[in-house]
Symmetry: D2
Subunit: 338 residues, 4 copies
């Protein structure tokens, strides 16, 4: 019973099939193939406005290239202290941006608020001797499984505008957030002031397909340059494009995310008093204490501890591909801890 | 009849099939899966010594990460003036290395000689005011389709050692070179003093699978860090590993390369007096003049002009997947120019 | 009455005179002149062991070049959250290091403890996904005017060694610390495990003379390269060397620092109950409330507010050149607030 | 008799005196002092239009910061293959720009022509796979002592505009060029399309004072940031400002340069048939063969060989401070070789 991460899941059959479908004949390289071109259209339709889409090989690349395109080397990126860009990318945003600084901010459930952002800007914008706040980056859903509503996004977007920050969303689990909220992707992005979205597919059914969705078309040329220079302009771009087309066409992305979310909800319910945070997507944070975690592991469950050492807290991530018998078994285990 | 580049080819069926084969169940992420582990073994066997293998998303990434791991920011990389790293990677080596300098050297058929390398080192190693020669990078096969023999590699390796240069090989078409020479991959690499090889598979049958083969194990940790930081440590690494395993197991890589080379040989023969350079791999450089090129295009052939504008020279690249009727037709066209 | 900073002070007459003394005849450029050579000897004597000295144009350059020489781009530098390198250098350490990350740690009077350093290392050293703790940087004296004793330095040095961190000291006010402690400069540096010291002279009597004192001779070549590349290898190096020689010869540096410290002590005493922190060097932190600060300003005193807005706290810095009548007047003003 | 370089000269007495004059009282730090403010006015008057002036510690810093402010990391800087930025700055332009590429172009007497620039742009602007030509940098006077006339500057400026290149001049010996031409500094810069000038004073009488003169005011903020981040915003900026004010006030800069030029002219005349290039500034290139050079050295002359090893060529640089008896002696020596 592996609940370590949704990145352990295989690829969805629909997406694997799409690879074969584009493999019939030669095609132009470096994103000049028909499928890559179609991507811009498909995402423009999905987001209800013209966008430019840049596929890359990883979420780290998507985040870092997007942020570097809106942050000068002497700029600061405001983000949560648990953000993936801060903790899990080995300094990739600093590398791509030429040495920008991440300004870390606290907040419940790994969420930022406009007040905290405003404070961080004020603390750091002190003229020539300090770095210059240039971007705001949030994760949707957050590293603690929480969701920003359209209203919250709009409030952050307003603050970003006021403080002259570009607004970036790390959407490694964007699908899970949209599936829960049931709103339009546009409501969670550009309508709320978002300039750039890292749109993830790998955790939710693709083999390797992440993309930058660029709402600020003036940034497109710079993103294209930074992508090439980072080695992320793929020679046979059609294989990445095909994955993403299969992912968003016919709502596959939301179907898979909804499956995962629903199984997570079931586990959260089972955890009852040991639930540490509300279950809003496919991540379940439980706090049954060290003994409880030991019991789960003894029964064959695999997952990561979370929080400070010794906190007795853990994270369970449910993927779209999780077997129902595993979920059922885990439900029983969690219930038995109560 | 598309002879623009081998990067327009589809993926080989064996490689596509390998993706399905590893998609059955969850697997550990970030290269901790069984297939990624097996890669090190497979390549160690292939190269007849212990190596460390790092898959990345593109040849640009392989070249740049490899070179950055042996070149300090104030270092110089000696390469041919037509090298891919110099002309076609939008400055990626400079980006990954933190601003190293490429020192460009001339040479027939895009090949370097020990003498030219030695001169370039002498010209550039002038103490604290100049950059410090740190690496030698060659392409095998070269951008003009030429091959370095084991003896030539060893001579360059000796010069690299003498001048304290790390020795890197851009092997985007390494398979084509090995297929022609019929020697061991070891003879073209570490036995001749090569420290790092960018081993390409994408042009010769993979979807997207390039890898750094590291012979100098002391560099492995730094390469791992730079790969992660560049966004090239893939979440679901097994899909890249599976492609490469299928590629080298059972000699598929050499079979595909030999196919392409043979078809290129046929075209070269047909070109006869218009052949600009010997055909040693799957690239054919012809010089039938502007009129000749116009005739070929009028007859439906698609390819790139090469050399300075107006030189009447062109490059034909034959991929493993080229249809025999296209090759036959092209042969006829070339013969008709004579 | 200007107590804003010691960087407003003029240059000491002895140091200005030294410039004329070296201006008689031509001299070799780029640090190959006799005075630059003598610097290594003078500092080796001062620090009681062989050192290498690198003059640069600013403390920011000294800190950044020193840190970049011991921190890989994927490395982390542990420092206090109020450190000059974190707050006042516009991201220069990130720039020179190629994007390293500063890990910020709290602590009284801007001081770090081995425990806090150890925690920060543990929190950040999580394998390939996180940055790699590589350096520890402290300020001596701190940004809050506090001093590390030889015993405290040795304890931090031990922790640095245990955690495989290079140990750097930002000594913009190193002279003030040594003057107070009365110990050997060696006791505050290499004897306690310090690898690199930014040795400041500008705030304490020079025109523009900062230097990196390198105790780890293996780093010297890299520092030399980074200095040149940063534009800090001065063409007429003798003028910087002459300032530093005059500064350390005959104990001028300690005489000037002791003067400043003594005047600060007097002001601290006068502040009495409004003193926020003990006066250990030439910085006086007072907290007389907003009204108190307003009174001081109305009486002609000039200084910076300190701490969060509205805290009613301020910093007074006394330079070696402060006029005794100004100090006397300030003493009276401070006493009147009690 | 030292003719190695003008960077061996002492400082002019007027400039040394200016340091004492600004040392009377405290002054605001970081360029907020009255002398730094006055610099902008003095240079605006000198250049007959509003400019912004940024003092830095070296010519390398001036060149690199200026170029980085107009060249994106994926950009190319077109320059002569003998340019100081290409050969003598240890890759500083690559460092400050985040990895831009220098495209090297040939040309007589180290001069560029619009045709060569245009060719280099065409060769390198090949879309996303190549770097993007972004800046043109020339040296005035060149590394071979040649001068660009106002007409030549304007022609290069026109080509820069046509090719969308920012236009930078490395003016380490700008004074020598202006002294020879007798034209307005404006005619050699912004009137001809120059955007940024590295204005040198150190070689011609200052201790350490180089400055970026910025004609494109939109770049000023970025230059200020990059200067701070490079450690070149000096704490006690008044001492650099004072040098530059003394240098340009009362025409000292042109007086000193004219002195040096005149002595060089005398030497050039003496060299007669051995003169390799016309003497246009204070550099004299002679080619008396290996024997001739040996004779000069045997007689006590000190200078650098120039050109390829064994070419029998040498460079003599005459500084403003050269003693007339040395020049007289050298004249005799050169004449004796005829």
């Amino acid at each position: 019973m592996n609940f370590r991460s949704d990145n352990t899941a295989p690829a969805a059959p629909e997406i694997l099939a799409a690879l074969s479908a584009v493999n019939e004949a030669p095609a132009a390289p470096y994103g000049e193939d028909p499928w890559s071109h179609k991507l811009n259209e498909a995402f423009s339709a999905l987001f209800e406005r013209e966008v430019r889409v840049f596929t890359v090989a990883s979420g780290t690349a998507a985040n870092s290239i997007a942020l570097a395109s809106v942050t000068p080397p002497w700029g600061a990126i405001i983000c949560h202290e648990e953000a993936h860009i801060a903790c899990d990318e080995c300094g990739a945003p600093e590398f791509f941006s030429g040495g920008a600084k991440l300004v870390l901010v606290g907040g419940e459930a790994a969420k930022l608020t406009p007040e905290r952002v405003s404070e961080a800007v004020a603390r750091n914008a002190r003229g020539i001797h300090s770095v210059q706040p240039a971007a705001l980056s949030i994760s949707q859903a957050t590293e603690r499984g929480a969701i920003y509503t359209p209203v919250e996004i709009a409030a952050l977007g307003k603050e970003a505008k006021r403080s002259k920050l570009a607004f970036h969303v790390d959407g490694a689990r964007f699908a899970n957030a949209v599936a829960t909220l049931g709103c339009s992707p546009a409501d969670l992005t550009w309508r709320g002031g978002v300039d750039l979205l890292s749109f993830g597919a790998t955790k939710n059914g693709a083999l390797a397909a992440e993309t930058i969705v660029c709402f600020d078309l003036d940034r497109a040329e710079e993103i294209a340059r930074r992508r090439k220079r980072g080695g992320h302009l793929l020679c046979k771009g059609r294989f990445a494009a095909a994955q993403l087309l299969a992912y968003v066409e016919n709502g596959l992305w939301l179907k898979l995310a909804a499956q995962a979310n629903e199984m997570a909800r079931v586990l959260g319910e089972a955890a009852g008093p040991h639930l540490a945070l509300p279950v809003e997507t496919n991540q379940v944070f439980i706090k049954p204490g060290a003994d409880g975690l030991a019991k789960l592991r003894a029964a064959g469950a695999d997952f990561y501890d979370w929080g400070p050492p010794g906190s007795g807290e853990a994270r369970l991530v449910v993927s779209w591909s999780q077997r129902s018998e595993d979920v059922e078994a885990m439900r029983g285990l969690l219930a038995s801890l109560r």
